[in-house]
């Protein structure tokens, strides 16, 4: 799981979808700026970012629903930059499902097929196959209003896949659903995508969704791409403080670069924390470290990056504890560490207790302050 096979293999073959320098303006407002991106065949890519970051704008540009102001888009070797949606090759699923309310499930799924002058029997067979595929056989005669949200979204998915498009676009498909249905459907969509091998782009603001479903994640912020990578890369090696903050929990500590690959935090106690820091000596930097990466079991004082810290507060979160710690002698430097329930019990960790903790050098990320 450490390396992503599909992306690595993808480098060798030509990309299925190529986005080059795409910019979209709405009047004076620039929604996305100079976006470049490659998506490979059969890949599942997530556009992840907070609302207003431009992820939906990019998706709609790829679909041709809101054509970009500048830039080029190529799909399967064909320049589709200025084509209307009808002349492109994609299926799309929206957050609102957008099922036709006056047509049955069967008619909804058959909608795109009927326009292609396919024989009636073939249409029926294809619709049955698709409903089977999304786990809704025998639901054909029902109307969308008679289905639950999760079922409606499955029908929307079947409708989008009916014409066997080369590219599947999902615009926040799970956001309108209950938490439990969302988790189940997340899994099902991923399974289906793997089985069909259809190149898929999903827009989401939910990091968990992106981490669990995507082969690669495109993290966007304020109209630009901050980072592209596998879920593990994005989580382990965030490319910017924004990505570090947006995905998962993260400690941010102000520090100063030592010029020799080390940083100092506040000068006291925590001098010479070893990590990868390429900044010149004296540069103000921010040190990032995830709470779950901080270790305390078996850490001897004097070990690399080890120091004494006092537990200021301990919060029980079900499967683990989140501790607020202050480095000894540096009361204003506060950070959080996640300790398993076992660990807390074994070491008798409680508020007020002083522990020896260590920042593992390979887990620390350092960003120069801008």
């Amino acid at each position: 799981m450490e390396t992503d096979t599909s992306a690595a293999a993808g480098e060798a073959r030509p990309p299925y979808l190529k986005v080059e320098n795409v910019t979209k303006k709405f009047g004076d407002f620039t929604a996305i700026k100079d976006i470049c991106l490659e998506v490979f065949e059969s890949e599942f890519v997530c556009f992840l970012g907070p609302s207003g970051c431009g992820k939906t704008t990019l998706l709609r540009a790829i679909a041709g629903l809101d054509i970009q102001t500048h830039g080029r888009i190529e799909q399967a070797g064909r320049d589709i930059s200025n084509l209307p949606p009808t002349e492109r090759d994609f299926g799309i699923v929206f957050q609102s499902y957008a099922l036709f309310p006056n047509l049955t499930v069967f008619k909804n799924v058959a909608y795109g097929l009927e326009n292609r002058k396919t024989a009636k029997a073939d249409i029926a067979a294809r619709v049955d196959e698709l409903l089977q595929l999304v786990g809704m056989p025998d639901q054909g005669p029902k109307y969308p209003a008679q289905l639950s949200g999760g079922q409606q979204q499955r029908v929307a998915l079947a409708r989008a896949l009916a014409t066997s498009p080369g590219l599947l676009l999902l615009d926040e498909p799970l956001s309108a659903l209950d938490a439990k249905v969302r988790v189940r459907l997340r899994h099902e969509i991923k399974e289906l995508q793997r089985k069909l091998g259809v190149t898929t782009i999903m827009v989401t603001h939910d990091q968990e969704e992106a981490l669990t479903m995507a082969d690669r994640i495109v993290v966007m912020n304020e109209g630009v791409i901050d980072q592209v990578g596998t879920p593990l890369e994005i989580y382990r090696r965030p490319a910017s403080p924004f990505v570090a903050d947006f995905i998962g929990a993260m400690n941010f500590l102000s520090a100063v670069a030592g010029g020799d690959g080390t940083v100092r935090i506040d000068g006291v106690g925590l001098s010479a924390i070893e990590c990868v820091c390429v900044q010149d000596e004296g540069t103000a930097v921010t040190l990032c470290l995830r709470p779950e990466d901080i270790v305390t079991r078996g850490v001897e004082s004097g070990a690399p990056n080890a120091f004494e810290a006092t537990v200021a507060d301990l919060e029980f979160l079900g499967s683990f504890y989140r501790a607020s710690l202050t480095a000894k002698g540096v009361e204003n430097t506060r950070f959080q560490a996640d300790f398993s329930v076992n660990l807390v019990r074994d070491l008798g960790i409680e508020a007020g207790k002083t522990l020896t903790v260590a920042f593992p050098a390979d887990r620390i990320r350092v960003f120069a302050d801008s």
Partner: protein
């Protein structure tokens, strides 16, 4: 951001979207609607404006006509008269409608459905009809003429009574809606805080209905100042603007002065329209999704008082209609009271005929069918098409204009435009086509807004989905949009039909010997002294409108039943 990438962006060529076949269809549709609105709304209005600056030979004379208008007391006194009756009618109608709506929403009176139905009946009648009834009630040989204590009904008193009857349902519908949208929690809070009933009324009820009341005021004011039927029949020597236009054009053949009066009449209507729009823009939804609807609790004294009030109003409405029907059947009022059908022999009357009635039916049917198709399709193109922003904005603006234009001004503008020498569309002058066109235009705005509201409630992504499935938008329009919007489409068509049956003002200048209409026949027979047949014809219009309304109700219910599988939420 460094300068590098930005410089690249600026130099990058603009992407010019390819215009697909579908886009051409959409653009062509928008262009057709745009041209239609130009021909039906903008050009005629421009013509009437330019006519007001010309002399009878068509030479430009600047403001001479206006100078003459304001130098003629007989003419400009009408401004004062029109404003007076409009404001008085507005105050009375809105007051009565508020009381009636208050009874329907805040008390426990029985038979609320019946009361509401009775209150809406006047919508089905031409405005001429209550005026004719008033003659029988308060005229020289009126049934209850003594109630006026010597005052004459011919003048402001008659106009105000007639207008109150005729505009009552319009005000009631608006105020009823405003009062229905009340949050019971506010009343509970007021009660918990120990506010008296009176204080609750002034601090909760009235503020909640404020915008409804203001809107009702503007609607009634505009209806009255632009109405032509009531003052024509019962106005006597009391001149008002709408009748002045008629007199100038039909009586004196002074078209230029008619145009001037038309524009004078346009001013207050336009002002009321703009003010109403501005206030509606300020209105925010007072009712949140979590609001609890107010349920009135029985209160014997209050309920009896409200019952007495609503009962009296309903009695008057039915009474006025019953008098018209009675008048139509009586052999010779007031000397021979035996009931006969003589008055229904319209073909023997001066200015009326059964042909006029059939013409009206034909005209109303065409208006409903063509009008609904054009207006709904137009609203769809404006709401759902992509790009073309300026063009769509302009079309939307043109759709709003007709609401501000009084029917009689529109009718006069149509004479000027379509009867002009060299207009290639001149052939429709004096045909049924121009009557249909004028009527659709007259009632365009409300229909357009109904359609736009229904379309806005549809999922915004239907068009996106169908284009991803390579289904052209017009197929989705036919297969999805129209079926889903059927209730709104039926509402528009019934609205157009009933208004086409009852309207007088817009068509009074445009009918010909072959295209007489029932509502015009009411006016002409009344003018010729055949008052009883006029009442008979007026009641025929009421029965027709009521029948069509009933059919509409049954049809809507049938469709709702058949489609409930997919309409239920």
């Amino acid at each position: 951001m460094t300068d590098g990438p930005q410089a690249v962006v600026i130099e990058a060529p603009l992407v010019k979207p390819k215009v697909g076949r579908e886009n051409w269809v959409m653009r062509a549709g928008l262009a057709v609607i745009g041209v239609y609105l130009l021909v039906a709304v903008v050009f005629p209005l421009y013509t009437i404006l330019s006519k007001s600056f010309q002399d009878s030979r068509g030479l430009f004379v600047g403001l001479d006509n206006y100078a003459e208008y304001f130098a003629t007391p007989a003419l400009f006194y009408s401004i004062n008269n029109s404003l007076t009756v409009s404001v008085i009618s507005m105050v009375i109608t809105v007051g009565l409608a508020f009381g009636y709506a208050y009874g329907l929403t805040r008390s426990c009176i029985p038979g609320k459905g019946v009361f509401k139905a009775i209150a809406l009946i006047p919508i089905l009648a031409p405005s001429l009809l209550p005026a004719i009834s008033l003659r029988y009630l308060f005229g020289a040989q009126g049934m209850i003429k003594g109630l006026l204590m010597g005052e004459t009904i011919y003048g402001p008193i008659g106009i105000v009574i007639g207008e109150v009857f005729w505009t009552f349902p319009h005000a009631l519908l608006i105020i009823f809606t405003a009062l229905s949208l009340s949050d019971a929690r506010l009343y509970e809070a007021a009660e918990a805080l120990g506010a008296s009933k009176l204080r609750t009324f002034f601090t909760v009820t009235l503020p909640g209905a404020k915008y409804g009341l203001i809107s009702a005021c503007f609607v009634v004011f505009t209806l009255v100042i632009t109405d032509f039927g009531v003052p024509k029949v019962i106005g006597g020597g009391y001149n008002v603007l709408a009748v002045d236009i008629y007199k100038q054009v039909v009586g004196q053949r002074n078209f230029q002065m008619g145009a001037v009066v038309g524009l004078v009449l346009l001013a207050p209507a336009l002002l009321a329209f703009v003010a109403d729009r501005m206030i509606q823009g300020k209105q925010v939804a007072l009712l949140s999704a979590r609001a609890v609807p107010y349920e009135p609790k029985p209160d014997r004294r209050f309920d009896l008082a409200m019952l007495a009030f609503c009962g009296t109003v309903a009695f008057v409405i039915i009474g006025i209609l019953a008098v018209a029907q009675f008048a139509a059947l009586v052999k010779f009022w007031p000397y021979n009271l035996s009931l006969v059908l003589d008055s229904y022999q319209f073909d023997l009357m001066d200015g009326g005929s059964w042909g006029a009635f059939w013409n009206s039916l034909k005209m109303a049917a065409w208006t409903a069918v063509i009008g609904t198709a054009v207006i709904f399709t137009g609203a769809y193109l404006v709401e759902k098409s992509k790009g073309f922003e300026h063009g769509r904005g302009l079309i939307q603006l043109m759709c709003m204009i007709p609401l501000a234009v009084p029917g009689i001004v529109l009718g006069l503008a149509y004479i000027f435009f379509f009867n002009a020498v060299g207009n290639p569309l001149g052939f429709i002058y004096h045909t049924l086509i121009i009557l249909v066109l004028c009527t659709i235009t007259h009632f365009y705005t409300v229909s357009h807004l109904t359609a736009a509201t229904a379309l806005k409630q549809m999922d915004a992504e239907f068009e996106a989905v169908s284009s991803s499935l390579k289904v052209p938008f017009y197929k989705t329009f036919v297969r999805v949009t129209v079926p889903v919007c059927i209730p709104a489409i039926l509402d528009i068509s019934i609205y157009l039909f009933v208004n086409a049956m009852t309207t007088v003002s817009a068509v009074i200048f445009l009918y010909s010997a072959d295209t007489q209409l029932a509502s015009v026949a009411v006016l002409n027979m009344d003018d010729a002294g055949d008052t009883a047949p006029a009442a008979a014809m007026g009641m025929m219009i009421v029965y027709t409108s009521a029948t069509v309304r009933l059919l509409h109700f049954l049809l809507t219910r049938g469709i709702a039943r058949r489609t409930q599988a997919w309409r239920k939420r």
